[in-house]
């Protein structure tokens, strides 16, 4: 499916936070050595606070690892890259822009000013008009791809939480990144909406063949969507288990009733259950 060196390669990634408490630094993420092949879909599951967002922000280039390295498509990550799209856990749709303008936003930001180009006089800027048309077209494609057609002129305040996350997804897709990082994008939504949007993400992935890292705390969501699930532990956040999801590629929500799905679910749940109890004991200073 991919040549070596492409996709996302994590090499012994460790992230410490200096804490104000007496315990010394908090190790949020430790010893993570994993790989997502180009075009692969991997989910990360783990209890809240285990370092999922931290790991994602390191891959996104938004935070430097304390040690270790991340390579994306063969290049070491040193900062944010427009070829890596991020969808944040929080609602990041800009309330003062309508759907179209939100989706166009990254494309407009990316249009770097062409310095030193000779001006041909006022009104004579063929480059600009063409760029604007290209941006409009790309944004419309992304809007249609996530099923927001007909809502172009709506403002975020007029949209449901599910629709707003569609806007965020369209905005990320409009840049056509080769890597898509999604941090619990549907965690705040109700179960039905989450299932629906999960199916959309999988359908879109089938069309775009991007490399996807999908963070969630929902085991079923992780199994339904991905080819591989990384199970993460709590403090330090390490990968406890890597589970290959050997379910049919054209699966839908009905797969949850199959024995294979249940077996995968049980395996991940067993891992997380002991982990969650250990984390609970640690948080509450019980003798573990």
């Amino acid at each position: 499916m991919s040549s070596p060196g492409t996709g996302v390669v994590l090499d012994d990634v460790r992230v410490e936070f200096r804490s104000s408490g007496r315990d010394g630094p908090v190790v949020a993420v430790d010893g993570i050595t994993q790989e997502i092949p180009a075009g692969g879909f991997v989910s990360v599951v783990g209890p809240s606070g285990c370092g999922k967002s931290t790991l994602l922000s390191v891959i996104a280039g938004l935070r430097a690892a304390t040690s270790g390295s991340v390579r994306i498509n063969g290049r070491t990550v040193t900062g944010p890259d427009r070829d890596v799209g991020v969808m944040f856990q929080e609602d990041s749709v800009l309330p003062w822009k309508n759907v179209t303008d939100n989706v166009r936003f990254p494309l407009q930001i990316a249009r770097v000013p062409r310095a030193g180009r000779p001006r041909l006089g006022p009104g004579h800027r063929p480059g600009r008009a063409a760029a604007r048309r290209r941006i409009a077209q790309r944004a419309q494609e992304a809007i249609d791809l996530v099923g927001l057609g007909g809502f172009e002129r709506r403002y975020p305040a007029e949209l449901s939480g599910g629709m707003r996350q569609r806007v965020a997804l369209a905005r990320t897709l409009a840049m056509r990144p080769s890597v898509l990082l999604m941090d619990e994008p549907f965690a705040a939504l109700d179960q039905q909406t989450r299932l629906l949007l999960g199916a959309e993400v999988r359908r879109i992935w089938g069309e775009t063949h991007q490399t996807v890292l999908f963070v969630t705390h929902d085991i079923s969501e992780a199994i339904l969507l991905s080819q591989q699930v990384w199970v993460m532990s709590y403090r330090p956040g390490t990968i406890l288990d890597v589970v290959d999801v050997d379910l049919p590629a054209d699966r839908d929500a009905s797969v949850v009733s199959t024995p294979r799905f249940n077996a995968l679910h049980n395996r991940i749940w067993e891992r997380l259950r002991t982990e969650a109890m250990r984390g609970f004991a640690q948080e509450n200073r019980f003798p573990a």
Binding site: L62, P80, R82, V86, W96, I109, A110
Partner: protein
Amino acid sequence: MSPATAPPTRDGCRVTAGSVAVAVIAVIAWEIASHLSFVIPEPLDTFLALGRDLGDPRFLAGLRETLLAALAAFVLAMLIGGPAGLGLGLSRRARVVFSPIITMLNGIPKIVLYPVLLPVFHLGYGSKIVMGLLFGLFPVLINTAAGVREIPDVYWRLARSLRATRWQTLTRILLPAIRGPLLTGVRLAVSLSLVGVVLSEFFATERGLGRIVLSAYSSGDYAGMVSTILLLIAISFALSLFLWRLERRVR
């Protein structure tokens, strides 16, 4: 932005009718009160005095001076308070250093500084503009700083992940994100700048509406005094109302 004009609604008509009713009752109450105390002029006399004054070049020159000084004070308040508020909102260190002194300065009754300003900035425009600035500065500064601090952290991460330049982050995320508090600051600064200017004119000045109010009082021209005060209130009210509507329209 939403479409600028909404079709007139039944509700809108009812509100207008209500306002007219309140105004009529107020004028009637005023008429009755004017007969109870000789200090209160009759409404008709007051409006006549306003008409007389608005035809008087000296009055118009005073009006011009007051409004120009207030405008200058407001512009300075925005130019100083806006960037200072941004800096204060963005930098934790700046907050630690400057917050106490800003809180203290904002807390003192600014008019007590007027005698200090007079010898420095002189009796003309200088002192009253500085006084208007002192009144208008803090609402802009404090609202801007609070607005910046309330920007969701995820907006900054969004800007960074898109590799937005500092300028793009400022103009396309920061400023739109604080549009609400910023407009509140503008609205307060407009009326407070005017208050600062008129207040200093009450104390010492050569020209301006505050001075005119005071000399009308000394000469017993209560109709002229009240009409000038009403004019000031009307100007301030109209500006605030306009800005308040603008504020409600932003998303």
